[in-house]
């Protein structure tokens, strides 16, 4: 009743919100169009391509693209190079994700307590994150080549053949590179999360006689769990996107395909060899696998909060 009276007595509050209702949509329209055109539509189109016989035709030519069911998926999954690339990205994630979570949480915790040089450390840690992969790849090639500084320091312990041309070491070296490069961003996420852990919890932990290590595991780790879930998700999705590093560090996934990633194979099959339908099928499989991993992580690390 009261709402009806206010609406009828004063014209403004009734008139204004409606005008602003249209304006809100109007203001957001460019962004919505962008999201639909660049994300939603291509996402659906990608799945459509994966189920059809799709090839690059001359512009303007009308060609038939028959539905072929699972043919593209069969072609993709019976290709040993594709299977190997999924194995490679599995190795990558097994090294990269745990290392990222542990190192970024430890460094963020240390950084959170320090007062002197705090800004210096913070900047030092995120400089690799903000720099182009293409630029830092140059240094890593210099550091990790056969006679590079790393092998000079290791002396007889250096692997032969050297890191990036060694079938066993190529993927772990790439995983190490990506971990190093991305760590600064995850440290920032953990630093934000650490501000949300109540100080009283640390105080009561220390009155209960818990040392620094003990309170790290009983207060910090559970306190930043939502951030850990986010770090797991983002690093897994980023890992699934791996392309630039194997393309440049190991000359396109060498040696012998030991460091080829699924996205690299998608590029080779889809754009170099003109089979976009097979490439789209690889993409669909890859995204499903990444989603499954993310859901499992959420299940086991997410808790019930």
């Amino acid at each position: 009743m009261s709402t009806a009276t206010t609406a009828s007595t004063t014209t403004r509050p009734r008139h204004r919100p409606r005008r602003r209702g249209v304006l809100g949509l109007l203001f957001s329209a460019p962004y919505l169009v962008f999201v639909l055109a660049v994300f939603a539509y291509p996402l659906g189109y990608s799945v459509w391509i994966a189920f059809h016989d799709f090839f690059f035709a001359a512009p303007g030519a009308v060609v038939e693209r028959p539905f072929v069911g699972l043919d593209n998926f069969v072609t993709a999954l019976t290709d040993p190079a594709v299977i190997r690339s999924f194995g490679n990205v599995g190795i990558f994630l097994l090294i990269n994700v745990p290392l990222t979570v542990v190192l970024s949480l430890v460094l963020a915790t240390a950084l959170n307590k320090v007062v002197r040089f705090r800004t210096f450390y913070r900047v030092a840690y995120y400089v690799p994150y903000v720099t182009a992969s293409v630029a830092v790849v140059g240094v890593w090639l210099f550091l990790f080549n056969g006679s590079g500084l790393v092998n000079q320091l290791l002396g007889p312990l250096a692997p032969d053949p050297s890191w990036l041309i060694n079938e066993a070491w190529a993927m772990p070296t790439i995983a190490l590179f990506v971990t190093w490069k991305g760590l600064g961003f995850y440290i920032l996420l953990y630093l934000a999360a650490l501000q949300g852990v109540p100080k009283e919890l640390y105080e009561s932990a220390s009155t209960d006689g818990a040392g620094a290590v003990r309170s790290f595991f009983t207060v910090t780790v559970p306190g930043v769990r939502p951030a850990t879930v986010l770090v797991l998700l983002v690093s897994t999705v980023t890992g699934g996107n791996l392309f630039t590093e194997p393309y440049l560090l190991t000359g396109g996934g060498g040696p012998n395909g030991a460091s080829a990633s699924p996205v690299l194979i998608m590029y080779q099959r889809g754009l170099q060899q003109g089979q976009p339908d097979v490439a789209a099928a690889i993409g669909v499989v890859l995204v499903i696998l990444v989603l499954i991993i993310a859901l499992l992580q959420n299940r086991f690390a997410g808790g019930r909060d």
Binding site: G24, L25, L286
Partner: protein, 277 residues
């Protein structure tokens, strides 16, 4: 906290800083060496082995100024799109009541976890083939045109502005565009700098998309032409490492300088809110 723990913490932090910074130092030193010196002594600048020749050499193979300009146009286009349309969307999400607001916000969050790998084939087909935007800045910019993280940061900051501020101006008859331009935007300047920094590194460092869509070397951003140099040409140069590292310094320097100068705008709380929503 014991003295031992404090020392341990300093050691961990200092070691971390060394591991993160050394490759950058080594990049600069290596880019100035006449002969690549991978020995331990080579990690220290040797006056007898210093030269600017590598910069000249890389500039002969890939036009550095052109590459920087192309990276600048690509990045500038993305920044323009993000600032104009991102601020509008962020304002609408925070200060206006309209149907579809919740869905739009959910989309902005969701977009950030959509894997780009699934999009490269359809985007390539659409943009390069159907729209004929290969070798074109528009085609390069399009998939990045509005940064969703920036939209969320804008919304977050606009939400913190008191509503009364706007109500008073509305009663005076100011239009929403005027409110946005003369009240809201000046109050969220720090958020805008944060969003610009965060948006900047996307296109400036992006390799895969411009690499797919540009075949014409005169249009390639520096990241793409340097990558092409690394994968194709480097083998034939007299000091491939020196030239590669010189190119790397040119590509990395603008971003590193930008982030050192504006470091106080790139702090955990801003970024955290942007990613978590």
């Amino acid at each position: 906290m014991s003295r031992f723990q404090t020392t341990l913490r300093s050691v961990v932090l200092a070691l971390g800083a060394l591991v993160f910074l050394f490759p950058f130092y080594y990049m600069v030193v290596g880019s100035l060496q006449t002969e690549p010196d991978p020995t331990v002594a080579g990690a220290f600048p040797n006056p007898g082995n210093l030269t600017g020749e590598n910069y000249v050499q890389i500039n002969e193979r890939i036009n550095l100024a052109q590459g920087l300009l192309n990276s600048g146009i690509f990045t500038g286009g993305v920044l323009l799109g993000t600032l104009v349309f991102g601020l509008l969307a962020g304002y609408a999400l925070a200060q206006l009541q309209w149907r579809g607001r919740g869905v739009t916000f959910a989309l902005a969050l969701l977009v950030q976890v959509v894997p780009f790998q699934l999009l490269i084939i359809p985007l390539y087909v659409l943009i390069a083939r159907d729209y004929g935007l290969a070798d074109n800045f528009l085609g390069m910019i399009l998939p990045f045109a509005i940064n969703s993280t920036a939209v969320i940061i804008f919304r977050q900051y606009f939400l913190q502005l008191p509503r009364e501020l706007f109500e008073a101006a509305r009663i005076d008859g100011a239009s929403e565009l005027k409110l946005l331009w003369s009240i809201a935007i000046p109050l969220v300047r720090p958020a805008i700098i944060t969003a610009v920094l965060l948006t900047f590194i996307g296109p400036w460092n992006e390799f895969l998309w411009p690499f797919l869509i540009t075949k014409d070397a005169s249009l390639q951003p520096l990241a793409v032409s340097l990558a092409n140099y690394i994968s194709n040409v480097a083998a034939s140069a007299s000091n491939p490492f020196g030239a590669t590292l010189a190119g790397a310094v040119v590509l990395a320097a603008p971003v590193v300088v930008l982030f050192i100068v504006f470091q106080r705008y790139f702090i955990s709380t801003n970024i955290g809110s942007g990613v978590k929503g």
